[in-house]
Symmetry: D2
């Protein structure tokens, strides 16, 4: 498979389309709409195996919500964004569960590492109800849905594969549907903590950064999994790749093209440059300086979006 360096179905479709100079990919439909002047919604629907193979994503629907200027969002912007999330999320919840089915919300990530703290921060604000339904049902409407939530930590702090923790909890508490919040890889700096992808085809924790750990999906957990993914960092390697691609394209455009440059671009053989730029021991990330505020606002959007969907 092509190394897309992004988990966003929309970006993958754009990269594939451009690389193959296609009008549209067979097996992929795209719909665009605006919720308001600051919120764009795109749906990438993978309808057949050809589409699935082209972008390396299972057949299903991938909703992308882009929010402009989330860093300086007003209370009204956050509410409008949460409602846009809820509208899309509700559709998927209704498709996969009945009105009173128990839902478990899982926030992946590490609360002590700012760019990785979004999942745990969302969990903090989820309105859990299962214990109230059990001990004080009079405080909830009669048709309230049992909701639970957990932030399981990451492999580096628990020593346990996330899927094993979640499987243990699912097997022991029997929810009917899982909603997982996770960080995604994206190609675009603009999308950091400003874009939300909602899909019902599961998730692979750490997929974005080259780890190959077991997925959270109906296959591994036995219940449907809705994934809410948000890009929170861009890998530095992605930026340098893009930088050099742009540069080579520029050289070629300016009639400096030659076989050597073409070969360079094809072969991805500037590893040595990346090595010179990046120390071995660190995961270098690119992030806006304002990442703390962006994470704060995005976690409000996602938590509210989930709460009003229950």
């Amino acid at each position: 498979m092509y190394n897309f360096r992004t988990d966003l179905a929309l970006e993958r479709r754009n990269i594939y389309k451009k690389a193959h100079s296609l009008e549209e990919i067979d097996g992929i439909d795209v719909q665009e709409e605006k919720a308001n002047e600051n919120i764009n919604i795109s749906k990438v629907i993978v309808t057949n195996q050809n589409g699935a193979e082209a972008i390396g994503k299972p057949i299903g629907t991938y909703v992308t919500i882009d929010i402009n200027n989330l860093r300086i969002a007003s209370e009204d912007d956050i509410q409008a964004s949460a409602e846009a999330v809820s509208k899309e999320l509700k559709e998927l919840i209704q498709k996969h569960s009945d009105k009173k089915d128990e839902i478990l919300v899982v926030g992946l990530g590490n609360v002590y590492v700012t760019p990785d703290s979004l999942g745990p921060k969302v969990i903090k604000d989820i309105d859990v109800t299962k214990h109230i339904l059990k001990y004080m049902p009079q405080y909830l409407p009669e048709d309230a849905r049992p909701v639970t939530a957990i932030s399981p930590g990451v492999l580096g702090t628990t020593g346990i594969e996330t899927v094993e923790i979640i499987k243990g909890i699912v097997d022991n508490t029997h929810p009917k549907l899982l909603i997982v919040i996770d960080a995604l890889a994206s190609r675009s700096i603009n999308r950091i903590s400003s874009t939300i992808q909602i899909a019902d085809t599961g998730i692979t924790p750490g997929a974005g950064v080259g780890n190959t750990r077991k997925e959270l999906s109906q296959t591994t957990l036995g219940i449907p999994v809705i994934a809410i993914g948000i890009p929170t960092v861009v890998d530095l390697a992605t930026i340098t790749d893009d930088c050099l691609d742009l540069f080579i394209t520029k050289l070629q455009n300016e009639a400096q093209s030659n076989d050597y440059l073409n070969k360079l671009k094809e072969n991805d053989n500037y590893e040595e440059i990346k090595e010179a730029l990046m120390p071995e021991d660190f995961n270098m990330i690119v992030t806006p300086k304002e990442i703390d505020d962006l994470i704060e606002n995005m976690s409000s959007v996602v938590a509210r979006g989930i709460n009003i969907s229950m």
Copy 2:
């Protein structure tokens, strides 16, 4: 059972002894020692059923470590305290597990509520190894023990009984021993985030504050459970109780004694005063203003104590 308003075996034994004017309780042995001038260690050993009933604690050993001036502790004080914890903890670990048996460390509490954040903060600093043993064993000594750790949240934020979360993870990852860090109730303000009780008889989350949720113990989880408990708050009701008891004693001592006062003291009938003092909707706690620093230092002591015991 008498309402001791404390989870510390040592305080319960003292209260019982005084109330019954005993030299010592049949079925309870107490040993005292000093690790250094700032660290006192007491062992309450409950040896028979009479002792167990007297203080409402199962037969077993309860080690209490008191650290003076932890708030302003130097690096050396913290290290000495961690070593005292480790010495006692190692004995219990060796009693209940083999050298390479997997251990799961569980930190109870809510990371977002300062006086309840000790458990999660300890987990942050536990050296987990199971994933390294699996993926990069060359980085660890050959006889390294697999260690995992989790901070499961509290019922109010997850909607799930803590025992159900832990049982799911235990059933799915198969550790041989559990170490649980939890907050305890204490009678004494001096002990807030300055005392550690270590016991191998399990734990009931929230026991200290009147909740009756299922215990974490060999009975419910199928593996031995070592509990590390630290008082982090004192309930306001405990303080007002103690305040009025002291006052009535004073009146009696000063020859103001009469039947009415005696009856008051027996019957615990100043509920109306507590109601007047305390708003219904809140859990009022008494805490040193320096609680943030105390929690920080205590979590270093406990995390290091565990790490050097593995």
Copy 3:
């Protein structure tokens, strides 16, 4: 002066009235109104020297805003509360400054000690404008007021009297009006992070807890000072005092009254009990367990209230 153990003019007036069995105090007017079902506003107007001496507060207006259930406040409740604060604050601002006069907002307290972090948290959310008016005036309306803000820390972390820091900044940047946010002492647990007192008679940092440091006022700084005070803790000594007073009253009411009890109540001679309850080295405070959430919501109310008053 009577030891009121509270900085709230309203509580002092109530204590004084009750102690002297008065209908109302000469020189004190009180007006009550409701902003909505959850927000009560009381104005204590000290009109002459007799009133000032009775409650130990200078002649002036003291507005008290009480907000019910702030801990679980919705976004709408917070907005309504902020508007109530703004309405009262605007009146005082207009009385003491012209429309485009520069205002410096000062948040007292220690950001690293949860119950003392309100002032710094408010400052974080103040919309400062002076630098924008200087460097990018096109982004602000033409009549925008220059606003600056600072959180100077506390004596224990800076080594400098707060008034000296503020005086240095005032002398060097020349604002025309100061707004100071500070913690207050209160008698009532119910008021913790739920009540706001606004006054234009200055402030003495740490006054609530028995420290006697220099005041922030027109006298010391040369410009008018509006104080926004919020109770965030209750001293444990206050609670035990109230506890014993209630108890003695109960004994007296139940016909157990005698000279000895009367004398006890007058003489405040149960110091020994307080000493037995409270360790010497700590400032013991009483606080709701939910203090983190209360501080969060109150800082939103105050910051918004200030921002919409500018």
Copy 4:
């Protein structure tokens, strides 16, 4: 002046030397030593105006301390690093002040933005003494130096130029020496929160990121200023510049050299590429994912280094 894109005298000297193919620059001496296997110390001494102009830094001494693996530093590593800092710092303090002269320590930066929080975090741990010398001198040795500390915030949160705040405090409290902790720009990702530069030639807040605000120096404040600077981020533009320079060098080395490439390298004319990579509204930074831990350890090193120098 050449755009060095770094505030480190050592990096500037290396860039200048390489660009001009010099053995050493006239007016610059460099001494290297190792404190231990993990700590390297370099002193760049600018001895004349030629050296000063070459690297754009005033005549004076610039000490660079590089610490390996600070992210995973043990307690012993942190102590050794703090002692290395203290050794260099003491020399400068003794040069500019007498033993009992008052020192004000200033931590620049924004505590709410992780990569910018180092200054405020250091201030939190400075042992201030001026108030103790005033109120409780018996708790300090007779020759204790008065130390004060402040974290004034940043222009974006206060609306006030930092130099104006500090000047106000200096004029009002009369310290004899200022120590300022600030973030620096560096060319090297390896140096993020791992390198410390100590100099006695003052500081320009935000100099590293292209802002031109007034300096903190003897000229503006009237007292000597020792600057402790730590790189905490690398600007994304620096990375892409370095990336393209490396690439062009590679092309040239591989005999693809031609006039066009040479011109490209000279003219710095790939602005359009940087624009395509970087959104306008954000300050994009490159940082290790582990920045929270790095900042934590570095602030311990600097705070201890200062405390043991007093």
